[in-house]
Amino acid sequence: MKNLLDFYVGQMRIAAVTQLQYRAANYFYMIGMVAEPIVYLVVWSTIAEAQGGVVGGYTAGGFAAYYIVWTLVRNMNIVFTPYGWEWRIREGQLSGMLLRPIHPLHGDIAYFAGWKVAVIILWLPIAAVLALVFRPEINPTVQEVVVFFIAIWGAYLIRTMLLWLLGMITFWTTRVGALFELYFAAELLLSGRLVPMSVMPPWVQALSAWMPFRWAFQYPIEALVGDLPTEQLWLGLGMQALWIVLAGGAALIAWRWAVKQYSAVGG
């Protein structure tokens, strides 16, 4: 356990150093990423104002808060993609990971977690500028702030496990882009990334409660800006834990089968 902790600290440090080394590129990347929520924010703020100030329980200021926090959660949702597995397998990059006496899943979790540390540091000025421009309505309690900080890491872990699981398909066939796109479309609609789920029809909201996507995206945002009752705040963390265990367990089982298919062709 001490060794594993040692590894996590070391790998996260390396990832943070590497990403801060490329801070300009990262900044441009993050600024580019801000375009998407700004479009959503402007559209929904306009609709809210046209409909008397509120849509799906959100005012214009509420939407501003939602989409500014959205930018951080979106960054926390960036993990090793299934497309990356194609590259790892085709180029033989996985060989180096398999030779190490540590599960490759730990390597990915630790590396991207280190990246997130750099992302949070780089995000703060962007959030400040967005707050100055769009004037969000946000009054979180200490409890909400604490739950939010746990929830963004929970979101990161859910998405890591889910995309790892999805990536395992690549061991059997390397052309699975269409399947991945289908997954990402479902995620976009059911996670709260496109719009807060309260704006969606009731049946979509009910469906999203039983899917993992919402817990990896909307829930952390709501934890900070949504004034959730205490029990819902903690229930959300429980749902995150459940999905981490389910998706992580499935990913580990799939890995055992998948790695037998590895042909290490590229190296």
Partner: protein
């Protein structure tokens, strides 16, 4: 006692296959044709502790596939391998902490950061005690003569420099078994020699077992007393490097020096080189004694040597021979 034990080890791949053209592509949608390719076909051998063994074969012979099975990267489709008492494909921690694989065309160090940072991470991965790790690291840095190179981002190093720091990273955990897959690939002659010396020194100092593949026979001649030759996935030869010539070379080379220009020597063998008063002949192996005796009897020979052909020629002959299964 054996360190590496391989019994009837096999690895097959199913490769999709079709003719060129749209028609064949459409046909393959309905009826997909796969061909089984036997990359390694029931090979067996054993390697003892401290041995440095050359694993030879032409491209596609199955060398790298075997090395990957022995290092736990690939699951065999048949037979079994044991390395230090472990089944490689299970990739148990006890196994992975005792072996290493260095691939000449692959970097396992992180590209954007100095090698020193990657080494620190290796320490955490292998759970090495900090003081022992620092001692080993500094010792390897000195042996490899890399100095401050380990403080530069890996992407800024030349290929040779990168291979040196790569070697250090691969040996930090003091592996008992070292798999080297074309470690000198693309390096200049000086760098090749330095890496060879390093491997030889490391083997002498630590007693680690080394299995090496290389297309450079200089690597093999400098490091390996024993070679295993594999061709089309099957084992052709396992024994002394010297014995390889005895087994596969069909001729020997006689070099004779004279005190005056000799007459035409075509009757003694095939003249392959003439350098002043020194002539080199190639004679069928069975004819060597008779040709040597005739030369000494008939002519005023000052000096005469009989040698096996260069190992490169022998290997080339082995690789070009058809496989009999």
């Amino acid at each position: 006692m054996t360190v590496i034990q391989v019994e009837q080890l096999s690895k097959s791949y199913f490769v999709p296959e079709r003719e060129a053209g749209l028609g064949a592509a459409l046909k393959s949608l309905v009826r997909r044709k796969n061909r089984e390719v036997k990359a390694v076909d029931a090979i067996s051998f054993e390697i003892g502790p401290g041995e440095v063994v050359g694993f030879l074969g032409p491209n596609g012979a199955g060398k790298t596939t075997t090395l990957k099975m022995l290092s736990g990267l690939l699951y065999p489709t048949g037979g079994a391998a044991r390395v230090l008492g472990h089944t490689p494909e299970k990739r148990e921690r006890g196994f992975l902490t005792q072996v290493t694989l260095v691939m000449g065309n692959r970097s396992q160090l992180q590209w954007d950061i100095p090698a020193l940072d990657s080494y620190d991470l290796q320490r955490a991965i292998y759970g090495l005690d900090p003081a022992g790790y620092r001692r080993t690291r500094d010792e390897l840095i000195e042996l490899m003569q890399v100095g401050d190179l380990v403080r530069k981002p890996v992407r800024n190093l030349s290929l040779g420099e990168r291979m040196k720091v790569e070697f250090i990273g691969a040996l930090l955990h003091n592996p008992k078994v070292i798999f080297l897959d074309e470690p000198t690939l693309g390096l200049d002659v000086t760098m090749q020699r330095r890496l060879r010396e390093f491997v030889a020194g490391y083997n002498a100092r630590t007693g680690a077992t080394v299995l090496l593949t290389s297309h450079y026979m200089a690597d093999v001649e400098a490091l390996c007393k024993r070679v295993i030759v594999i061709h089309h996935g099957t084992l052709l030869y396992d024994g002394d490097l010297a014995g390889l010539s005895a087994r596969f070379a069909s001729y020997k080379t006689i070099s004779a020096s004279f005190d005056q220009t000799p007459p035409a020597l075509d009757g003694y063998g095939e003249v392959v080189a003439t350098d002043g008063l020194r002539v080199t002949l190639r004679v069928p192996k069975a004819e060597t004694s008779r040709a040597t005796a005739r030369l000494l009897t008939d002519l005023a020979v000052v000096d005469l040597t009989v040698e096996d052909p260069p190992i490169d020629d022998v290997i080339e002959k082995v690789f070009s021979s058809p496989v009999v299964k």
